[in-house]
């Protein structure tokens, strides 16, 4: 197989996947992101590997992400795979619809991009054959099952100022256009829908002047009762809060998705706030009760309040906390920062 000089096609990716899975026992080195982790767990699920490193220089398989895109390194041979999610290289099967869809979607969300052409090809062709339903629709989580107000509350991207994370404001905004607390998207007529779209866009423009209809109406994918967007956000949230266990179990047994989403809704239904953002030499310190530095980063990037260059530390009444997605630590999940002044958290 050749190194890819330009973006690879699907066949080339599939060959890459089968080559990785046939590698004899070894570790795999990745970054601590959902897409990388799902990729690695799929390799654990089907390959001969049994360990994942974030620091080792001795792994034969390595996932590298840099400004130019993504690279898979196998035995020192590099394969450029463009902007595509790492998980997109795996052949799809009924058993892995959700992990692959989730991997691609988390990658899309966290990299603040749209699905790539290749990803859309996989979703619209390969995955649709296995039962995935796609449509162009609002980019708010699970508008098919959730009441609209809750769907809006869970909208991390686009972040809707005053509405995301705020139950009262979300209900109030809907009331203003005569949408009731319990209505779902399918319950409202075209006129109300247009008003809603208008409301969301004008609201969001306050913090992001470049926000447009194209950012709100996007490619959306559902599988069984799952919305890929809501699933991806749940996985990001719990990776941050708890660690990689949920992502692992979800990849190994995808019906675990129900548990993650149940718990995600349970925790997020209480709402959340983001107050002060303070920039120091080494980090951004954010006063909030949302226990996911990664989701906070996602929001603050939209508000143009931060750059990607420093980790997010959250300030809770109990102290300062950060997670493994922000700082290379050996502990999983959200952890107390013992000494903010220490360079090494």
């Amino acid at each position: 197989m050749e190194n890819f000089l330009k973006e690879p096609n699907k066949d080339e990716l599939r060959q890459l996947a089968s080559r990785i899975l046939s590698e004899s026992e070894t570790c795999i080195r990745i970054s601590y992101t959902p897409d990388d982790l799902i990729f690695a767990f799929l390799v654990l699920k089907y390959g001969k590997q049994n360990s994942i490193s974030f620091t080792s220089n001795e792994c034969k398989i390595e996932l590298i992400t840099n400004d130019a895109g993504k690279i898979i390194k196998i035995n020192n041979q590099q394969f450029y795979i463009g902007r595509n999610a790492f998980t997109s290289i795996f052949p799809v099967s009924t058993d892995d619809v959700l992990p692959i869809l989730a991997g691609i979607t988390t990658s899309m969300i966290l990299e603040r991009r749209n699905y790539t052409e290749l990803e859309l090809d996989i979703i619209n062709n390969d995955l649709v054959k296995l039962g995935v339903i796609t449509e162009k629709n609002l980019k708010i989580p699970n508008y098919k099952s959730l009441p609209l107000f809750f769907s809006l509350m869970l909208s991390f991207d686009p972040y809707i100022p005053e509405v995301t994370g705020n139950r009262e404001n979300s209900i109030k905004m809907l009331k203003e256009i005569n949408i009731s607390e319990t209505d779902r998207l399918e319950d409202i007529d075209e006129a109300k829908l247009n008003s809603l779209v208008y409301k969301i866009i004008s609201n969001t423009l306050k913090i992001n002047p470049r926000f447009s209809r194209e950012n709100l109406i996007t490619d959306r994918a559902y599988y069984l009762e799952y919305d890929s967007l809501e699933l991806a956000l749940s996985l990001i949230y719990f990776l941050d809060l708890k660690g990689s266990g949920d992502l692992f179990q979800f990849t190994i047994s995808p019906n675990y998705a129900e548990t993650i989403i149940y718990k995600f809704r349970d925790e997020l239904s209480k709402g959340f706030f983001i107050k002060n953002v303070e920039e120091t030499n080494n980090y951004y310190i954010v006063e909030t009760n949302l226990k996911s530095p990664l989701l906070i980063q996602l929001i603050l990037l939209q508000m143009n309040k931060i750059k990607r260059n420093k980790p997010i530390i959250i300030k809770l009444p109990e102290g300062f906390f950060t997670s493994r997605t922000q700082v290379l630590k050996i502990k999983e999940g959200l952890n107390k920062v013992e000494d903010l002044n220490k360079g090494n958290l």
Binding site: I52, S53, F54, S56, S244, G245, F248, I252, R324, K329
Partner: protein, 146 residues
């Protein structure tokens, strides 16, 4: 001597506290017999002591499984049984993230297994048996469902 210790352990419902120093002399003499002789009669003698030691293990580990506290030179060693029980119960009652019989663990210190180096923070998927051994050494910790 060993026969008295085993007799005690057999007749008492509790567990007796066995000091290592009460065994030194015995261990040392048996080692000498083992090293000096290899005739059938000495082999028979050694097997008599081996069977006694086996009985001591059976009695004490049975008591431990029943929940009786074991004191003495072997308490830390036999405590591995409690660690086994914890791992067994956690595995079956869904406290671990698992794939088949393998458990997702977090590496605590640098070590190597099967010629592969592992570093603090690495994730590794291991069967029950290796999980026990590596917990005993404090190399890893299973990630728990919370």
């Amino acid at each position: 001597m060993l026969d008295e210790i085993v007799l005690n352990e057999t007749l008492k419902e509790e567990s007796t506290e066995i000091q290592l120093k009460d065994l030194y002399q015995l261990i040392s003499q048996l080692r000498k017999i083992r090293r000096k002789y290899s005739d059938d009669l000495h082999k028979k003698e050694l097997s008599v002591y081996e069977e006694l030691a086996e009985s001591l293990f059976e009695l004490r580990s049975s008591k431990l499984i029943e929940g009786i506290n074991i004191k003495g030179f072997d308490s830390e060693f036999l405590d591995i049984l409690n660690q086994m029980k914890r791992i067994y119960v956690n595995f079956i009652s869904g406290k671990y993230f698992t794939q088949e019989d393998k458990i997702l663990c977090l590496v605590k210190v640098k070590f190597s297994i099967n010629d592969m180096n592992l570093y603090p923070g690495d994730l590794i998927l291991l069967p029950l048996k290796q999980v026990l051994a590596l917990i005993t050494l404090d190399y890893i910790t299973p990630i728990e469902v919370e």
